[in-house]
C-alpha cells in the first residue's frame, strides 16, 4: 500500500510541476545567446540550455506536454479497446473471431515498431503518434475486457438479467464496470507509462516531435553534445521522465 502512496505522491508532484509551472515560468522558446549553458542561478533556477533558453521553463512545458500526451493516448487506447472487448464478448461468433484475429495481427509486431511506422507518415506531428500508440495499446484493454466480460456473462445473475429483458447498457453498468474498474486503473497506468516513454524515445532518435518543441527526449538529444559544460541540463529531462514512469509503475504494480 505504501508503494502505491509513493507512486501517487510522485505523480501529484510531477503533475503540479507540469500544470502550475508553465503559468509561473517564463517563455520556453526565448533565446538569450549571451547567457548559454549557464549553471543554476537567481535568474535561471535550473540554468540555461545551448541557446540560453530557461531550463525550468522548458522542463515545465515538456512535463505538461508529456503528461497530457500520456493521458490522451491512454484514453484513446482504452475507449476502443474496452468497447471492442465488450462487443466481442456480447456478440460472440464471427464478430468475436474477427476482432481476436485483428488483435493477434497487432500483437505480431512490437508496439514501438507500429508507432514508428505511423510516425513515418508525418514526422514531427502529434496525430500519427496518437494513432500509432492507440493502435498498439488497445489490444491489452480488449483482451482484459473480453476475458472478464465473457466470464461475467456466464454468471446466473447476468443471465437472469438478460432473460428479464435488461439490455446491454444495464448489464454493462451494473455488472461489468464495477468488476472491470480496478483492473483498468492498472492498465491505464501501464499504457500511460508506455506512452510517456515512447514519445520521449521517438523524439530522442529524431522521428517524433521535433525541436524547438520542449520535450524531454529531444531536449536530451539537443543538449548531449554539451554534456561536459552542462551535465545537469542533460540529466534533468531524463530524471523527470524516469520519475514519471516510476510513479506510474508504482501505482499500477500495487493494484495487481
Amino acid at each position: 500500500m505504501t508503494a502505491a502512496r509513493i507512486g501517487w505522491a510522485l505523480l501529484a508532484a510531477i503533475a503540479a510541476f507540469g500544470i502550475l509551472g508553465p503559468l509561473l515560468a517564463g517563455d520556453p522558446l526565448r533565446q538569450d545567446l549571451s547567457a548559454t549553458l549557464q549553471g543554476p542561478g537567481a535568474v535561471h533556477p535550473l540554468g540555461t540550455d545551448q541557446f540560453g533558453r530557461d531550463m525550468l521553463a522548458r522542463l515545465t512545458h515538456a512535463t505538461r506536454l508529456s503528461l497530457g500526451f500520456a493521458a490522451v493516448a491512454a484514453v484513446a487506447a482504452a475507449v476502443p479497446g474496452i468497447a471492442l472487448g465488450l462487443i466481442a464478448a456480447w456478440r460472440g461468433g464471427i464478430v468475436e473471431r474477427a476482432l481476436v484475429s485483428l488483435a493477434d495481427a497487432v500483437m505480431a509486431l512490437p508496439g514501438l515498431l507500429l508507432v514508428v511506422l505511423f510516425a513515418a507518415f508525418a514526422p514531427g506531428e502529434f496525430l500519427p503518434l496518437y494513432l500509432g500508440l492507440s493502435l498498439a495499446l488497445w489490444v491489452e484493454y480488449f483482451r482484459l475486457t473480453r476475458g472478464v466480460a465473457a466470464s461475467l456473462l456466464a454468471r446466473p445473475a447476468v443471465e437472469a438479467a438478460r432473460l428479464f429483458g435488461f439490455g446491454p447498457w444495464h448489464v454493462l453498468r451494473h455488472h461489468l464496470l464495477p468488476e472491470l474498474a480496478p483492473m483498468l486503473v492498472t492498465l491505464l497506468a501501464f499504457s500511460a507509462a508506455a506512452a510517456v516513454t515512447a514519445i520521449s524515445a521517438l523524439a530522442f532518435v529524431g522521428i517524433g516531435l521535433r525541436p524547438p518543441t520542449p520535450e524531454w527526449g529531444s531536449m536530451m538529444t539537443e543538449l548531449l553534445p554539451y554534456h561536459a559544460e552542462a551535465p545537469l541540463q542533460v540529466l534533468l529531462p531524463g530524471l523527470l521522465l524516469a520519475l514519471t514512469v516510476l510513479g506510474l509503475q508504482l501505482v499500477a504494480g500495487a493494484r495487481r
Binding site: 497487432v106 505480431a108 515498431l113 514508428v116 511506422l117 520521449s200 524516469a242 514512469v245 509503475q249
Partner: protein
C-alpha cells in the same frame, strides 16, 4: 499435433501477420504522401528537370499504378512474400543487399545483450529468492524498480557519460572490435535483467516451499540436492516463459539503443529510413525487425519445451 509443431505453426502465422501489417502500412504510406507518385518516381529516374507528363504516364503503366488500389495492394504484398523489397530511394541499392549487412550487427547486439541479461538477471534473482525478505532482497527490489523506470536511452546516456566520457574505458559509438558492443549490449541487458531477476526471485521463493521441494526434504534429501532437482528446474519455467514477454522490450530497445550508439544495425537503419522518407527501406527494415522478433520468440518456445516436459505432450 505435438507441442513443437503447434508452437512453430503459430509462429509461422505470426510471421505472415508481420508481413501483412508492415506491407499494408507502407503501401498506405506511399499512397498517402502528397504528390503524384508516378511523377516522383519518374523524377527520380530521369532527373527533376527532364521529367515530363509523358514520362510519368509511362511509369504509371509500367508499375501498374493505373490499376485499382486493391490489385496494387495484392501485387505489393505478393512482392513482399517473395522478399522482393525494391530499391532504396536514398542509396539506389537493392534493399535486400543493405539489409544483409545490417542484420548481422543487430543479431550480434541482440544475442550479446540477451546473453548478459541471462547471466546476470536470473542468477541474481535466484540468490535473492533464496533469502526472500532479507535486506539484500529489499535493496534488490528497489534497484529493479528504479532500473525498470529508466528508459533505455537514459540508461545509455548515463553509461556513455560514465564509461566513455568520464573513465574513457570504452568507445561511445561505432562498430569494430568487441569494445564497441559492450556499452549498447549492457544498456539493453540492464533493462532486461531488472525484470528477469524479479521473475526469478519470485519463482525461486515460491519453488523453495512448493510441494515437491517440501516432500524431498521430508524424505531426507540434502538441501543441495533438493535445490538442484526440485527448485532450480521448476523456477526456470516462468523465467524462460517471461523471456518471451521481454523480447518486445528487447526489439524496441534495439531501435533506440542502436541509434544512440550509432550501431549500424536494422534499428538504426529503420530510424534513418523514416527520417529520409525512404519507404522501401522503412518497409524492409520494419519487416526484418518484425521477423527477427518472431524468430527469437520461436527460439524461446523451443527452450520452454526443452526444460518443461509437461508442455511437450500438452493437449
Amino acid at each position: 499435433m505435438g507441442g513443437l509443431t503447434r508452437a512453430l505453426a503459430a509462429r509461422a502465422v505470426q510471421a505472415l501477420l508481420v508481413a501483412l501489417v508492415v506491407g499494408i502500412a507502407c503501401f498506405a504510406m506511399v499512397r498517402l504522401l502528397p504528390g503524384d507518385m508516378a511523377f516522383r518516381i519518374a523524377a527520380g529516374r530521369y532527373g527533376i528537370d527532364l521529367v515530363s507528363g509523358a514520362a510519368a504516364d509511362a511509369v504509371r503503366v509500367e508499375l501498374g499504378l493505373d490499376r485499382p488500389w486493391w490489385q496494387q495492394l495484392g501485387a505489393w504484398l505478393g512482392g513482399l512474400i517473395r522478399f522482393d523489397l525494391g530499391v532504396s530511394l536514398v542509396s539506389g541499392d537493392p534493399v535486400v543487399d543493405e539489409l544483409k549487412t545490417y542484420l548481422g550487427h543487430t543479431i550480434l547486439l541482440a544475442v550479446v545483450a540477451l546473453g548478459i541479461s541471462v547471466l546476470v538477471g536470473p542468477p541474481l534473482g535466484a540468490w535473492l529468492g533464496a533469502r526472500a525478505g532479507s535486506a539484500a532482497d529489499r535493496a534488490g527490489l528497489v534497484a529493479s524498480a528504479v532500473l525498470r523506470a529508466l528508459p533505455a536511452f537514459v540508461v545509455g546516456i548515463g553509461l556513455i557519460l560514465v564509461f566513455a566520457v568520464g573513465l574513457g574505458w570504452l568507445p561511445a559509438a561505432g562498430v569494430g572490435g568487441w569494445q564497441e558492443v559492450v556499452l549498447p549490449a549492457v544498456t539493453l541487458a540492464l533493462g532486461l535483467a531488472a525484470v528477469s531477476s524479479r521473475v526469478a526471485r519470485d519463482a525461486v521463493a515460491a519453488a523453495l516451499h512448493a510441494e515437491p521441494a517440501e516432500f524431498a526434504r521430508r524424505k531426507g534429501l540434502p538441501e543441495g540436492a533438493v535445490r538442484r532437482r526440485h527448485v532450480w528446474r521448476n523456477a526456470a519455467v516462468p523465467v524462460v516463459a517471461y523471456l518471451g514477454v521481454q523480447l518486445v522490450a528487447l526489439i524496441e530497445g534495439v531501435v533506440i539503443v542502436e541509434t544512440l550508439f550509432a550501431w549500424p544495425g536494422i534499428g538504426h537503419a529503420l530510424v534513418h529510413a523514416v527520417v529520409a522518407r525512404d519507404v522501401p527501406m522503412v518497409q524492409g527494415t520494419a519487416l526484418v525487425m518484425g521477423l527477427l522478433f518472431v524468430a527469437l520468440n520461436a527460439l524461446v518456445d523451443l527452450l520452454t519445451l526443452l526444460i518443461d516436459p509437461r508442455r511437450r505432450s500438452a493437449a
